[in-house]
Symmetry: C2
Subunit: 320 residues, 2 copies
């Protein structure tokens, strides 16, 4: 039989990463293939399992595959479907049926932020916690909410969309069609929009004045802030204020022990975490004050999504 | 042995109601005593159990008391304590210890909005639902959030304070010390504050212009709205807009099947529910649209809190 391993798969807009992971989070194999977003979903999984089989042969390891965990955009945990993902030409895809053509093992599926939350609980900053929230800060703002040791899926499988709560009812246009959503302020594009607003408002000198909207990104804003650039620093302060305010709202819902920040913008570390914590405390209802930690993810960014996807299966098996 | 019954107790600021309730929600005894808010907690329970014993003797019914469920302000489910309730001179009270002097049966304790949520799940509008939210609209706005069939307590036992999420960061003063909390807009005093804002803003004729701030209440505003008073109607519209917006935020957290409105202001019925539903849909992230019901409580208002408190025990026994 050999060791028990899970195949974790993280479906991204550009690349799809997969890996064989044991219960302690050790990876025995990590590889990736291009997602080819214009092709049907089945094409991706055919190519993925071909490469997987080839790599498993080379690996020459005796193991027992206990399940397949998948993190993907617009994934529905209950129905095991991916439904009209914004960056892939897939429409409505019945994932379990597709995987079932290749494997008889159990399949578990959720969105990337939920997978990240389970990953943090098993292998990262939320080890030992039963109530916490993971916020992923990338091109959008994703969230995975854990209550009493389980992910909150809600009645339809889509719970945890804090990125689309409202900050300013007539605020910035969001990709989702609404206005003023949290992710239009707090995300990599969000802080860029804030920089452009501040550049128009103030006369401070700033090296960011030499960059076009297309050129600017969160990394350049972080670097400028670390060099003391006033516009960049103010952009982080504003971003932190909005995030702190909405995290206080999130705490009022599920009262987590910690909120864990993950992904691109979270790499700014104390630039974001220290003021976010300060503002969150200001907006918190008094019973929650000085109780809720804000932590940086402890998962290796390259492997985190696959670890989370694999942990989904370990978590399902734990529940039985 | 006889029938199995739970003693439900609802501790209010003025009166404390208690009752013997069976698993189907039938009450065999309902009575109340004055809370006497300036006296210590133990005084209340001594008087309550004296009256309970006397009433039980008169009842002349063979029954088995399986537990004591309590709904109370600032109640902590995990610690079985009541902590500095705003309207009672109690400080920090270890409820389980006090009850233990009189009864050996298990004790369960939570705040009144959470008790209302469990009551709706067992006996009211949320029968058969696993994911829903109850919003209580009285002198404040309370909330009880149910996920996958269980109340969300959070890591500290205080989850579900949607009334203190922020609407306008520099908005109306809240009793909690913050500004712009949801309950300063959506509650009986909240709609009164809105009427006064509208009276100052517009020149419409309104019978509400003849009432002082001290005289006006939610019932008078509801009556005026039903008679077509423009200020009163606009106050309901504004209240519904704010509530709809924040319920959309709540849906983005836990994706409930329904939101159930309970208490004073909810008695305005369609005046509140129809526009709240319309505004909520506008602010909802697209995946949640046309899925979430807004319902009026189906519990008898006089008995609802006691039913909820009793259901707490039935729910605990169900989990075992």
């Amino acid at each position: 039989m050999g060791i028990n391993l899970v195949l974790g798969i993280d479906v991204g807009g550009t690349n799809t990463v997969f890996g064989l992971i044991d219960k302690e989070g050790k990876d025995y194999l990590i590889d990736s293939i291009p997602t080819n977003r214009t092709q049907p979903a089945e094409d991706l999984f055919v190519r993925l399992f071909q490469k997987y089989n080839q790599r498993v042969k080379e690996l020459n390891l005796e193991f027992n595959l206990v399940g397949i965990g998948i993190g993907a955009p617009n994934a529905n945990y209950y129905k095991k479907t991916i439904e009209y993902p914004p960056n892939l030409n897939w429409g409505f895809v019945e994932i379990e049926k597709i995987i079932g053509k290749f494997f008889s093992q159990p399949v578990a599926l959720t969105n990337d932020a939920n997978a990240a939350a389970i990953g943090e609980m098993y292998y990262g900053a939320a080890k030992g916690m039963k109530d916490f929230i993971v916020i992923t800060l990338g091109t959008g703002l994703g969230s995975g909410i854990v209550v009493d040791g389980n992910l909150v899926y809600g009645h339809d499988g889509f719970a945890g969309e804090i990125g689309h709560t409202v900050v300013f009812p007539d605020g910035r246009e969001c990709g989702c069609g609404k206005k003023g959503c949290l992710e239009t302020y707090v995300s990599a594009p969000g802080i860029k929009r804030t920089v452009f607003e501040l550049l128009s408002k103030y006369n401070y000198e700033s090296k960011l004045r030499n960059l076009s909207y297309s050129e600017l990104d969160a990394k350049l804003i972080t670097d400028a802030a670390l060099e003391g650039d006033k516009i960049a620093l103010e952009a982080f302060d504003f971003t932190s204020k909005i995030l702190g305010m909405k995290l206080a709202d999130a705490v009022a819902h599920t009262s987590p022990e910690a909120i864990i920040l993950f992904g691109g913008l979270a790499n700014a570390g104390d630039l974001l975490i220290v003021p976010t914590k300060k503002y969150m405390e200001e907006y918190l209802f008094h019973v929650f004050r000085n109780k809720v930690k804000i932590l940086k993810s402890e998962l290796n960014e390259g492997k985190s999504a696959v670890l989370g996807a694999a942990a989904l299966i370990w978590h399902e098996l734990n529940k039985q």
